[in-house]
């Protein structure tokens, strides 16, 4: 029966995380507030960690309320770090494994000799008085085995029966129980049983219990391997940090590190929490998180991330996110969640497994009745054997495990490649993506454009144009604008003051600078304002054909210059796009650039289709257009400007967000900037889905073929009837097979880049 609430509470220690406690005097206030809650024996606050441990019998929500009444906020902490929880789990698993192996050994040391006897020495029938005594002894020994090695099946079966539910335990307990009871009836009151049917099945009982325990033990081992990826991620967390407080350097446990602490990291060390470099420079290996093999250079002002490894220099950084807020902790959380979520493909198996066990019980009854009514003599023995075998061979586990095991390994594998999959549904849809829209800027290209050409009209010079343009653009956050501002800064040009700044979305900007009215934007905008463009249109086309983005600059409604900006294509975009195309995905580029520029970029990277001159708000329309054509559309963008398009696509991929994992609009987050991450994501999802299909298919076929075979369907034709021992072995190893097949995914390698 369930544990009584009071038992648990009397032992309970609650950990609360307190927020909003800024001063040491808060400690007393919070502790007193908690102590006033009835049932609380003691409350002790650790100010450095901002946690309180409360002992007593109060319920946690009352504690939280008490803290809130005192003017702070609190939440119940999970009591331990991921690392500790993992170690504890492994220890518990190991103990369980040893127990299963022990139980298996005991069961098989009775089962195997009996098996050998029945196979080579003689029929296990009860005819003489001596035989009766011998089998009685064996029967009692078997009961011992059922108690020692099979108790958990029987207790579980009984508990769930009481709850009107049934599970694998029910089947095993019923199967072995039936075999044992029948055998005991034969031994104790043989005259109730027809002479030909006086057969005992103690060997089957012991063997089945032994084999199933063995199967469970091996499955437990194999399951451990499915969570390798998450273990590796948890292992990335550093245990200690070298913090500088009051000009003193001291090593502290990572849990004690606070935001804004200054931390020193030496070459070869793990970066303990997220932060910003404030002194020194170095290169950092971030491959464990982003899958990006090249070390990343870091200097003052750059962000560093927990779990990555400092390669060359020693530096100081200020912690910005600690504990559960670090990118690594969030990644671990997200991967864990996704690993336990289920793609729609698993739903059928779920529906089936909900009805599975009672259905199998009914089949067992029907099969026994069929044998009794129509079977040859000894019909009773046949009926018992077939019912037992049906109960034993049926394996809801294989069916139930098929999907989650593959998802577990697949999602973990993806995380290793820097691909974070939000849930099972995203995984499944990603495997079916038929068209992939790539937003050009920041996806195919680096997203940091540079000024390449400044073509001025006769009465202007480059210096003046850039000065005015940079001034105009200094207030804009558009990447093209920043390129111009940057270019002016490089040339040492100083900007002046802007007034009446107005951004015309997707077209350009206008403002007044030094009494001049400036207009900067695309051809469409300038034509709308009736600016004479002259032969600059051709020049612009020439620049566009070189994959540059030309923009027109007008002063007091007269054309002053064309400024061309180009956004370099990422080194590996071409190769990654090819991988997608080779995988049968229709790749479409989307950009706000003019047609000519778009065409030039598309051609360079090997994309045949593109949407050009797309306004930001039209992006989602383009996604819908492809969906109308019947495509399953993946949309790849930076996750911020593209949020609506990402959300409307069948699968939204946010690329190159580095370590910002909390992109709500994305189904899949690619931690590194390279498009290879995208190709990896598609490849891993495809591999995982086909693995799930193999598992589901195998589990279905196993049950659909195994159950009738066990019931004796083949007997009238071939005289074949399955032995319950073989059924036990088959059942034990069917779920092991599913887990092992899922484990094959661990060896999945995304194609070499």
């Amino acid at each position: 029966m369930g544990v009584k609430t009071e038992d648990v509470r009397s032992r309970s220690i609650e950990e609360l995380i307190i927020e909003g406690a800024g001063c040491a005097s808060c400690v007393g206030k919070i502790e007193n507030a908690l102590k006033s809650v009835s049932g609380v024996e003691n409350a002790e606050m650790n100010f450095a960690q901002r946690t309180v441990s409360v002992t007593g019998t109060a319920n946690p929500s009352a504690l939280v309320k008490a803290v809130e009444r005192a003017g702070y906020s609190a939440k119940v902490a999970t009591s331990e770090s991921d690392g500790d929880a993992l170690a504890e789990k492994e220890q518990a698993d190991w103990a369980y494994y040893k127990r299963l192996m022990r139980e298996m050994t005991v069961a098989l040391s009775l089962g195997v000799p009996l098996m050998i006897y029945s196979l080579f020495v003689g029929e296990m029938t009860v005819t003489t008085a001596t035989e009766r005594v011998t089998w009685l002894v064996v029967g009692i020994l078997t009961l011992g085995v059922l108690y020692f090695s099979g108790k958990h099946f029987f207790v579980g079966a009984w508990q769930s029966l009481k709850n009107h539910s049934a599970n694998m335990d029910t089947l095993i307990a019923l199967g072995t129980g039936t075999a044992w009871l029948y055998s005991m009836v034969v031994v104790l009151v043989p005259h109730l049983v027809p002479e030909m049917a006086r057969h005992v099945y103690f060997e089957a009982t012991a063997m089945i219990i032994g084999l199933i325990n063995l199967g469970l033990a091996l499955e437990l081992k194999a399951r451990g391997r499915t969570s390798e990826a998450i273990k590796r991620l948890i292992g990335l967390q550093a245990k200690t940090a070298r913090v500088i407080r009051d000009d003193k350097q001291l090593d502290i446990a990572i849990e004690d590190l606070l935001e804004e602490d200054v931390v020193r990291v030496r070459p070869g060390e793990k970066i303990p929490v997220d932060g910003k470099v404030i002194e020194g420079s170095t290169t950092v290996d971030e491959s464990m998180l982003t899958g990006e093999p090249m070390p990343v250079e870091k200097s003052v002002g750059d962000d560093v991330v927990a779990g990555t490894i400092n390669k060359s220099g020693s530096f100081l950084f200020q912690a910005t996110r600690v504990g559960k807020d670090t990118a690594l902790a969030q990644i671990i959380n997200m991967v864990k969640r996704a690993q336990n979520s289920k793609p729609p493909i698993g739903r059928l198996a779920d529906i089936i497994s909900a009805y599975f066990v009672p259905v199998v019980m009914i089949i067992a009854v029907i099969s026994a009745l069929a044998w009794l009514n129509f079977g040859p003599e000894p019909a009773l023995a046949f009926a018992v054997v077939s019912a037992t075998t049906v109960l034993i061979i049926a394996c809801p586990c294989a069916l139930g495990l098929a999907t989650p095991m593959s998802v577990m390994v697949g999602v973990g594998k993806a995380a290793e490649a820097g691909v974070l999959i939000r849930n099972g549904e995203a995984l499944q849809t990603a495997s079916k993506v038929s068209a992939m829209i790539l937003d050009k800027t920041g996806t195919i290209t680096l997203g940091s454009p540079k000024v390449t050409d400044v073509l001025v009209a006769s009465e202007y010079d480059e210096q003046t144009v850039l000065q005015l343009a940079a001034t105009l653009e200094s207030g804009s956050e558009h990447p093209l604008a920043q390129a111009i501002v940057e270019s002016a800064r490089e040339r040492g040009i100083k900007t002046s003051k802007v007034s009446n700044f107005n951004a015309i979305a997707g077209h350009g900007v206008e403002a007044e600078v030094d009494g001049k009215s400036l207009l900067f934007g695309n051809e469409k905008l300038l034509r709308e304002r009736q600016v004479e463009l002259g032969n600059f249109v051709e020049k612009a086309q020439g620049l566009a054909a070189e994959a540059k983005t030309p923009m027109y600059f007008a002063v007091d409604n007269e054309l002053a210059a064309i400024i061309a900006v180009a956004d370099p294509i990422k080194d590996d975009s071409v190769a990654a796009i090819k991988r997608l195309q080779d995988n049968g995905v229709r790749v479409v580029m989307l950009t706000g650039d003019n047609r000519a520029t778009a065409e030039a970029v598309a051609e360079k990277v090997g994309i045949k289709e593109f949407f050009a001159e797309v306004l930001p708000e039209e992006k989602s329309k383009k996604v819908q257009e492809l969906q109308m054509e019947g495509e399953i559309v993946g949309m790849t963008g930076d996750g911020i400007n593209d949020a609506p398009a990402l959300a409307i696509a069948n699968v939204g991929f946010a690329i190159g967000t580095g370590t910002d994992v909390a992109i709500e609009s994305a189904d899949i987050t690619l931690m590194r900037g390279s498009l290879h991450g995208l190709a990896d994501a598609v490849a891993v999802s495809k591999a995982t889905l086909s693995n799930i299909k193999q598992n589901l298919f195998g589990a279905f076929i196993y049950n659909v073929a195994g159950i009738p075979f066990a019931a004796g369907v083949l007997y009238p034709f071939f005289g074949m009837l399955l032995s319950p021992v073989i059924a036990g072995a088959a059942m034990a190893f069917s779920s092991l097979t599913v887990v092992s097949n899922a484990n094959r995914l661990r060896f999945f390698k995304a194609k070499k880049h």
Binding site: G2, S61, Y96, S165, N167, M168, E219, L369
Partner: protein, 117 residues
Amino acid sequence: MLFINIAGIALIALIVWWFWLYTPKQMKLGEGDWVIAVENGTYSPSRINVPEGKPVELRFLRKDQSPCSETLLIPDLEISETLPFNKLKPIQIPALEPGEYDFHCQMQMYRGKLVVG
């Protein structure tokens, strides 16, 4: 023989009634103070009455070592949590609309229901 057949059919009827037709009693959830034990292949209690439109906390205690019992899923609420062995695990349930919400382990051998309203 007739007797045996009738007994067999009665047994089938019993199975159908016991597992599918019978509606078990519900546990009323008080002020967020229930502990749900995960043990021997079941959640107890397994049917939990939750007040409508009010967030509650369920606390799970896993006493079963089998790996199946380790994961708790509430698919409709996108909740997926690992339950530590022999340790209370609080799980926050957001305010819910009236209806029934299944919760179960990865393989659906452990099954329970939140009944709201």
